[in-house]
């Protein structure tokens, strides 16, 4: 080692190694030869002390001891004393002087320069501070001094060598101990880690940044049904699965580049036998001390079973067990998905299907057959699909929907609807029967912008009602105006049962008068609906709906009851001039099997004789009616109830057929008299036709009432044609029963 001693400012005593014996100007020592006072012993001691002081000052700059210089001086004094005493002895062996060298090393003065300086100081000054005995010849003293110096050097060297060896050994042992401890700690933490690694039910795989799989635990191996060797041969890229979520490999690349520290997702893998392994995957990046990516650690939890159960539960929740089709939930989910698409602007088509007459099949042939029919229908509907963007679902009962995602245009959806119709054209063969089943379809095709999934389904449903209203076995395309109309029809028909319950219907009565004297011959009961939102509705608004829904039967019965009890009240008050009451029968009612009993019961309940009631039926109700209906009408007339043919002239007016009917009265439709405009105006042919009809009626012995008389001229013409009775605004508008009562009193 080269340690170039700095020249300490202000010292200069023994700075440079070259002149250790050159005392500086402030050095108080070199007057040593002067004999101090206090006797020879004290004199010797003092001389040695001054020598030690000088020695310490010379070597101190080369030491690294933590002693102060004074302490060093005190440490050197016994060494100097020992040295000096040796000088006086006749030693064959100078080795005791080695202790002096060792003493330097013990004081942590280990720099070789300390030895060099010390030898120089001993050589130059020892005798100066403490002269040798005059008895010893000076050449002997010199020789002894040389031998002592050699021994000091040897002692220093040996002590330094021992010390160096000892310290090297100590530090090496310490390093070894530290290393062992760290190994043990490492081993312990590693053993803990290994125990975890191997014992966890979670699969763990370690991969390097190149994607090589470095280590796998048993759990992972058994999850993959593989071997550790086979798995270590794999690369991370071998783990791609077609059902991987989009983006998983982007996340992986970000992790490898150190742009993210972890990611978590559900990921499928292939097991060694090719089956699928579903896992909750958590991948973490391991970095080195400088933060550079080093390894990737993947933790996998086997969720295959859980996923299968979930999938099964989800399948159950979203599918119809009977047909295997998706159910309402799945259909709405798929539709919502299209609407949820970011950026919007997608198109979607929906068909809403309802089987015509399915209820009849169910009712007549039983549910088992009905179910088999539904399964067959589902199969045929499915067979109409063209590609994965088209799907069919069963909404419940006999209702189905079809969804077309991103259709090429409205035509794609209507074409699908046509295929559905065609597919059900051929009957379904079940248990040796051919069951005909038709379908009505509402079709909607639109952009997802500006509407919602719910509104779209509603539109398809309304359009379906329009298809139904047209008689079924057809499709109706969504049309906002038509749908709005249908919508209000729909609302009316759904509200009607409740309205009947809560007494929103009421009757008005329109008089029929004798043209000869203006007397009241009878009244026609007309039903009205006092709708809470739409006000009073005439029968034209709701009777056709009631016919469709079948509600006409209870409604008709209610009208009959009301009219009969009113007729009875009039009879009680006006036994002589109470009017006969006319009540309309709908097509449905005429054909309803319970008609005769209903009428008989009502008459009985009201204690009304049958002759006070006249039923009005339309041509269409009786034309083509089966024998059962005609029989019923005959039973009624046999009972004494009057029967009028209403709206005569609006149908095809089968005069021949009239003979077969048990009708007593013809009510001639207003269309025959709208042309009667007094003497000069109008079409003379109208009057001729009317005359012909009247003549025929006389021939068949039928009474005649003309409806829709609005003017005195018309009344005059009818009188001139000898018409007996008439009805119309010219005589009286329909009004409450009270108005009739007042007229009777009047």
């Amino acid at each position: 080692m080269t340690r170039s001693p700095a020249a300490p400012a202000g010292t200069g005593t023994a700075g440079a190694s070259g002149r250790p014996d050159a005392p500086g100007p402030d050095d108080p020592v070199p007057d040593a030869p002067a004999a101090p006072a206090g006797g020879p012993r004290a004199h010797e001691q003092e001389g040695l002390a001054r020598f030690a002081g000088f020695w310490a000052r010379v070597i101190y700059p080369f030491t690294a001891t933590s002693m102060t210089r004074d302490e060093l001086e005190r440490h050197l004094l016994p060494l100097a004393t020992r040295l000096r005493s040796l000088l006086d002895e006749d030693l064959l062996d100078a080795s005791p002087a080695q202790e002096v060298g060792r003493g330097l090393v013990q004081a942590h003065c280990t720099d070789p320069q300390v030895l060099a300086q010390s030898l120089t100081v001993i050589e130059a000054c020892l005798l100066l501070y403490r002269p040798a005995s005059p008895d010893i010849p000076s050449d002997v003293v010199r020789s002894r001094l040389s031998r002592l110096q050699a021994a000091v050097a040897a002692g220093f060297a040996r002590a330094l060598r021992d010390r160096t060896r000892h310290e090297q050994e100590a530090i090496t042992r310490a390093a070894l101990t530290a290393h062992q401890r760290s190994q043990r700690a490492l081993h312990e933490s590693e053993a803990k880690f290994r125990a975890l690694f191997e014992g966890l039910a979670v699969g763990i795989g370690v991969g390097d940044l190149q994607g090589r799989i470095v280590d796998v635990n048993d759990a992972l191996v058994s999850m993959f049904d593989s071997t550790p060797e086979d798995m270590r041969k794999m690369r991370v890229d071998d783990l791609v699965h077609p059902d991987d979520l989009p983006g998983v490999w982007d996340l992986y690349q970000q992790l490898i580049r150190g742009e993210r520290d972890r990611f978590v997702m559900e990921k499928p893998y292939f097991r060694s036998d090719g089956s699928v392994l579903w896992t909750d995957l958590r991948v973490s990046l391991i970095r080195d001390e400088e933060g550079r990516p080093q390894y990737q650690v993947a933790m996998l939890e086997d969720v295959t079973e859980r996923k299968q159960i979930n999938d099964r539960l989800r399948h159950q929740a979203t599918h119809d067990p009977l047909t295997g089709l998706g159910n309402r939930v799945l259909f709405l989910e798929r539709l919502e998905e299209v609407f949820a698409h970011e950026g919007g602007g997608r198109r979607v088509g929906v068909c809403y299907l309802d089987l015509d007459g399915f209820k009849a099949v169910n009712d007549s042939l039983g549910h088992a057959t009905g179910d088999r029919l539904l399964v067959a229908v589902a199969e045929r509907l499915t067979g109409c699909l063209r590609g994965p963007h088209q799907s069919v679902a069963r909404m419940g009962g006999d209702e189905f929907t079809a969804l077309v995602v991103d259709p090429a245009g409205p035509h794609e959806v209507t074409e699908l609807a046509r295929r559905f119709l065609a597919a059900l054209a051929a009957p379904v063969h079940i248990d040796g029967r051919d069951l005909s089943v038709n379908v009505s379809i509402g079709v909607v095709e639109s952009s997802t912008d500006g509407t919602t999934a719910a509104r779209m389904v509603q539109s398809a449903d309304i359009s379906l009602y329009r298809a139904k209203a047209r008689g079924g076995n057809c499709y109706a395309m969504h049309d906002p105006e038509a749908d709005a109309r249908e919508m209000s029809r729909y609302h009316l028909s759904t509200r009607m049962p409740e309205a009947l319950e809560s007494g929103e219907f009421f009757l008005e009565y329109q008089p029929m008068v004798s043209l000869a004297d203006g007397s009241l011959k009878g009244v026609e009961a007309l039903v009205r609906w006092r709708h809470p939102e739409h006000g009073v509705l005439g029968p034209d608004r709701f009777v056709p709906l009631a016919e469709e829904t079948g509600l006409i039967v209870p409604l008709g019965r209610w009208v009959l009851e009301q009219a009969c009890s009113q007729a009875r009240r009039w009879q009680r008050e006006f036994p002589d001039c109470a009017p006969r009451v006319n009540v309309n029968l709908s097509v449905h009612q005429v054909r309803s099997p319970g008609l005769v009993q209903d009428v008989a019961r009502v008459l009985k309940n009201c204690e009304l004789e049958p002759g006070a009631l006249q039923l009005e039926v339309t041509e269409s109700a009786v034309v083509g009616a089966d024998d059962q209906a005609l029989t019923a009408l005959r039973e009624l007339t046999d009972m004494g109830v009057g029967l009028a043919l209403d709206d005569f002239g609006t149908g095809y007016s089968n005069f021949a057929g009239l003979r077969r009917l048990p009708v007593q009265t013809l009510k001639i439709d207003r269309s025959f008299i709208s042309g009667l405009r007094g003497a000069e105006g109008g079409d003379p042919r109208d009057e001729q036709v009317l005359a012909g009809v009247l003549s025929l009626a006389r021939t068949l012995e039928l009474a005649v009432t003309v409806e829709g008389v609005e003017t005195e001229e018309q009344a005059e013409r009818l009188r001139s044609l000898s018409v007996q009775s008439a009805q119309g605004w010219h005589f009286a508008r329909p009004g409450p029963a009270d108005a009739i009562t007042r007229a009777l009193r009047g």
């Binding site: 933590s66 210089r69 042992r173």
Partner: protein, 267 residues
């Protein structure tokens, strides 16, 4: 079980350590080739270094003796390094044989060596800990088994804080330690500074940056902040050689410009 090669190794003697370099400066042989090379290079750049270390050791000795004079006989020496001739327990016991000392270092080799040296001595302890986690350090059984922290302790942070980077918040760490000491406790502290020898400071810190112990020399005001809340004993924070020099110390020391030293007492 085959050890995965991605587990890092523990002990690396090919990297110079501050503790072993310090030993080398003091003429010791508790060091390895890498330490000697680095230390020799440092001395080549700054020949006064061994003397600076010597002055630092001398300050420590004076401060320990002064602590005993003030009645404090428990010592906690953090950053004790390799124990060499004239260590704290030797100095303290020379002044009061009942003195208790705990040495703390984060260098596992220094700790192993100290433990070997002091094995069987019940009034000393050696633990491996990091002064940056003062709470864990003071709650270590190796500390609480030797020192009574309810009584005053002389906390030695001698030539160690310049090995804690600013980013590791040495002031917070020292505040944590100070806060847990009993009233009357002392803080004995020395710290390298670029003040006085700015020419040397830069290259010297560069050199230590390559060791396992990079170095942050600090200004007087920065060093003063380590004593926050403590009363400075005379003569305050001064250059190391100027702190209560022994009477009759006639040599003006060239190393006085290299570091600050001071002792504070907890009120």
């Amino acid at each position: 079980m085959e050890r995965p090669d991605w587990v890092p190794d523990g002990i690396d003697v090919t990297r110079p350590s501050a503790a072993r370099m310090y030993d080398y400066y003091l003429g010791g042989s508790h060091n390895f080739e890498a330490d000697r090379e680095a230390a020799a290079k440092a001395i080549e750049m700054w020949p006064d270094l061994p003397k600076i270390m010597q002055a630092n050791r001398a300050f420590m000795r004076r401060a320990v003796r002064h602590a005993v004079e003030l009645g404090v006989t428990q010592f906690l020496d953090i950053g004790s390094g390799i124990p060499t001739f004239g260590n704290v327990h030797e100095v303290a016991r020379a002044a009061d044989p009942q003195s208790r000392v705990v040495y703390v270092d984060r260098d596992p080799i220094a700790v192993a060596h100290s433990q070997a040296l002091l094995e069987g001595d019940t009034r000393t302890g050696v633990i491996e800990a990091d002064l940056r986690d003062g709470a864990a350090l003071l709650e270590h059984p190796g500390v609480t088994g030797v020192l009574d922290l309810e009584r005053p302790v002389a906390l030695l942070l001698v030539a160690v804080l310049h090995f804690v980077q600013d980013a590791d918040e040495p002031w917070d760490a020292v505040a944590e330690l100070r806060g847990r000491l009993a009233p009357g406790s002392l803080l004995i502290l020395s710290h390298a500074t670029p003040e006085g020898r700015a020419d040397m400071a830069g290259p010297h810190q560069d050199l230590y940056r390559r060791t396992g112990n990079p170095m942050s020399m600090r200004s007087r005001s920065e060093v003063t902040r380590f004593f926050e809340g403590f009363e400075m004993l005379d003569p305050g924070l001064v250059y190391m050689a100027e702190w209560r020099p022994d009477p009759g110390c006639r040599l003006e020391d060239p190393t006085r410009f290299s570091g600050f030293a001071g002792v504070g007492r907890k009120p």
